[in-house]
Symmetry: D2
C-alpha cells in the first residue's frame, strides 16, 4: 500500500462566510495529498506531465463530518490500496489532530497529451509495484 | 419536483494547466445551480442565512465525463427529486449544448447559527411542498 | 474608447469568513470584464489564444472602497482608454447599483506561445483602432 | 522592521491554462506571508479576529515579473517597514530560489466586527513597537 501524511494550514481565502472551509476546497487538499503520496515513491506528477502523461480525475466522493476552520493545521492522509491499472484510486482522510473532519476518494485515469486514455507509463508501475505484494 | 437550468461561462481562473476546468471548481457550479433552483420557488439562500438557517454540505459526488473548457457556455441542470426532510438532496448535470460533461449530487442539512442540526424552517417546506405531490 | 458593462452575481465560494468577497477574487471579476470588453468588438480572447497569442498580466492595482456581499449583483465596468501598443491597459469599476465598491487597473502584454513578448496581432489593432480616433 | 520568509508549493489548482499561476492567486500567497509575519511576533490573526478585530484589505498592488509554475517551491518574503497606525502596510516578494517572480504590497486597516474602522488593539502595538526603534 502507498500511504502519505501531509500537513497544511487553512488559508483565509479558503473559508466562506459560514466560517468554514468551503466544501469545494477539499478537492485541492486531496490533490496535495495525492501528489505528495506519489512523490514518496519518487514519482513526480510534474515530470509525468512533462513526459506527456496526464492524470485527470474521473470521479470524486466526499463526506463532510466536521468543519475545518481558518488557521487549522490539517493532516491529509492519502492511501493507494490497490496497484493501479489504467485507473488509480486514492482514498483520503482529513484530520485535525486525531479528529476526523472529512473523508474522500478520487479515481483518476491516464491520458496522453492528445487527450487519449492510455496505460500508465512503465516507470510508474515499476515504482509502485513493490508496495503491493 | 424542483428543477432549474442556469447558464454560466467558464472563467480563465477556473482552468488549470491541463487546459480543463479544475475538477474542484464544479462544486461552485453546483452551488450556483442549487441557489438558482431555490430562488425559482421564492427561496433566497441569502435571506435564509440572515434568518439563522445555514445549509452546509454533508456529501458530494461527482462523475467527470468530458472536460469543460475556457469560455464554454455551460448549462447547470439542478433537480430536487424528493421533498426535503432534515436533509435536502440536489442532483446536477453540467452540459455544453446537449453534451453531458459532468454529473453530480450533494446532500445538505439544516443547521442553526450555533452549529446545531435543525429542521428546515416552515416557510421552506411550505414553498417546496406543492412541487412534490 | 472601448467600454463594457457586465453583470455578475457573487458566489458563496467567493466570500470569506469576514462575510465579504475575498480581496483576491476581484482579479477574476476584472478578467470577466476585460474578456467581455474585447468580445464587444469581435475579439475573442479564446481564439486569440488558439492562434498563439497569450495576454498575461503585467501589473494589477486594486482599491477596496466597500465590501461586496454574497448574492450581490455587481456591475463590472471595463474601459480601455488608449489604443494598445505592446501593452494594453484596462481600467475597472465594480458597482452595486450606483455604489462604487472597488476600482482597479491591469496592464497586460502580448506574448507568443513560446513565452516571447510580441506585438499584438494585426486583427487585434484593426478591431480596436476605430474606437480611438 | 518586521520580516518573515515563508515557503509554499504551487498547487495544480492554482495554475491556469497558460501553464502559470493565475494572476489573482498571488493575493493568497501574500495573505499567507502576512499571517506568518504577524505570528513571528506572537500575533495570531485568528485570535485577533476572535477578539473582535478584523483586518480587511484597503489596497493591493502587484507587479508580475516572471511566472511561477506548478510544483515550484516559492519563498514569500513579507516586510512591515513602518510601525502601523490605523493602517498597516505589508510589502512582499515572491521568489523561486534567488529569482524574483512577483512583488506586491497591501495596505490593511483595523475594523470592529460591526464594520467600524478602529485603532489597532493595544497588544498589537505593544508586540510590534520594539521592532521599530
Amino acid at each position: 500500500m502507498l500511504r502519505n501524511e501531509s500537513k497544511i494550514r487553512v488559508r483565509y481565502a479558503e473559508t466562506d462566510q459560514m466560517g468554514f472551509v468551503y466544501y469545494g476546497n477539499y478537492a485541492q487538499y486531496f490533490e496535495i495529498g495525492r501528489v505528495a503520496a506519489l512523490k514518496e515513491v519518487g514519482l513526480s506528477y510534474r515530470s509525468m506531465e512533462e513526459n506527456g502523461f496526464l492524470l485527470p480525475v474521473k470521479s470524486l466522493k466526499v463526506n463532510y463530518i466536521k468543519a475545518a476552520l481558518y488557521d487549522d493545521e490539517l493532516t491529509i492522509v492519502t492511501e493507494v490500496r490497490e496497484l493501479p491499472s489504467n485507473r488509480i484510486r486514492f482514498d483520503y482522510l482529513i484530520l485535525r489532530d486525531k479528529e476526523l473532519l472529512v473523508e474522500g476518494e478520487t479515481t483518476l485515469f491516464f491520458m496522453t497529451k492528445e487527450a487519449k486514455p492510455c496505460r500508465p507509463p512503465q516507470f510508474f508501475i515499476d515504482q509502485l509495484k513493490p508496495l503491493f505484494s
